[in-house]
Symmetry: C3
Subunit: 153 residues, 3 copies
């Protein structure tokens, strides 16, 4: 089963990948590794998912925001590689969670993105990860996730 | 002298590496680079080292927490590679320090992890690094460190 | 035109690259990728550019600080590679912006570093990027930027 078929099974429609802004690009492939820019949380309708965990957003909403970042990362992989079947392995996710100083469940929030990768890619979607709290993110979004992906030779 | 012998000389006992949690894994090797997940600060007795620098933890305690993250990274290298003698070079550490807004000695805290790498690996333990403050970390720990390691072919 | 000639055209004089501090080094090359340590914002006169966006530093000053981090990254590339003409591609910038919790223009600040890379390297300076807010940075600086660069074989 191709990754596209798995996406269809999961009922996931890939969004239009965010266009390059200013002097940076969504993804760069170098020596077999694709580095993907930090993707901020957008809802399916294209609006920003804003909020701060532990202040005005609950865990479930944070996980949903992280999952949306994951879906946008997949959209960027497809745009960069042509086909998702060129993904050899999801290597690393860097997860930044907009957090009040008392909120310490960043790993549970990050699972929203990590489980999405496993749902979509199966075994090759299992990745290394860091998850940290930050006091604020671009445009006030709840979650930002960047990624490193190994590409088939 | 093997790295294991150097660990023994230093009196360092590697902890049981943290088991995979949810849909991510401790480390992924791709194209000769091992990306290791962010390791949070655990004490030798397995309890979490919690705290915020500049608020309720002093510099020395922060350095000790960073050193423990470094030891856990070494434990993850061994688990992933089988033998620590397969480490060609420690390439990069990413150090996140749970910090009050007035605390600006993140580099000194991070040295706890950096010096551990040099103690254990010698010249090949000298790495690039970033060190930043964050307002909060998973489970309230003081320090989180992730790593990239070059693996012998 | 060589990169050095482009620097001259842009009127950019590379600073003395910051010397290794403690047990880490400015940059490590592994498998064709150069990982450069986080560079903090220094002014041309060698003094630190300190400040927190949204609190005591405006956007323009933040962009200038990010640009200075970019220039220091170029200085580190030259020190590590001997010649800037060995740069194959700027792959990724990680931008950390010292931010008040209400400041959400991290991408605009980060453009200071991103545009510098494009000015200096042209097409091969276009990179992937993440930009996040942090509550504090080493020594109180406004911006820290690390980088991954692909090196010519």
């Amino acid at each position: 089963m191709s990754i596209e078929q798995r996406l269809a099974e999961l009922g996931i429609t890939l969004p239009e990948p965010a266009a390059p802004v200013a002097a940076y690009v969504p993804a760069v492939e170098a020596n077999g590794l694709l580095h993907i820019s930090g993707q901020i949380s957008f809802a399916e309708d294209g609006s920003l998912i804003k909020g701060r965990l532990g202040e005005n957003m609950d865990l479930e909403a944070g996980q949903a925001a992280a999952r949306r970042c994951g879906i946008m990362l997949v959209a960027q992989m497809k745009a960069a590689l042509g086909s998702l079947d060129r993904v050899e392995r999801v290597v690393k996710l860097g997860v930044f969670v907009n957090s009040h100083g008392d909120f310490t469940d960043q790993p549970k929030v990050a699972n929203g993105a990590s489980e999405l990768m496993q749902d979509v890619f199966g075994e090759i979607g299992r990745h290394a990860r860091s998850a940290v709290g930050v006091p604020v993110l671009p445009l006030g979004v709840a979650v930002e996730v960047d990624a490193i992906v190994q590409v088939k030779a």
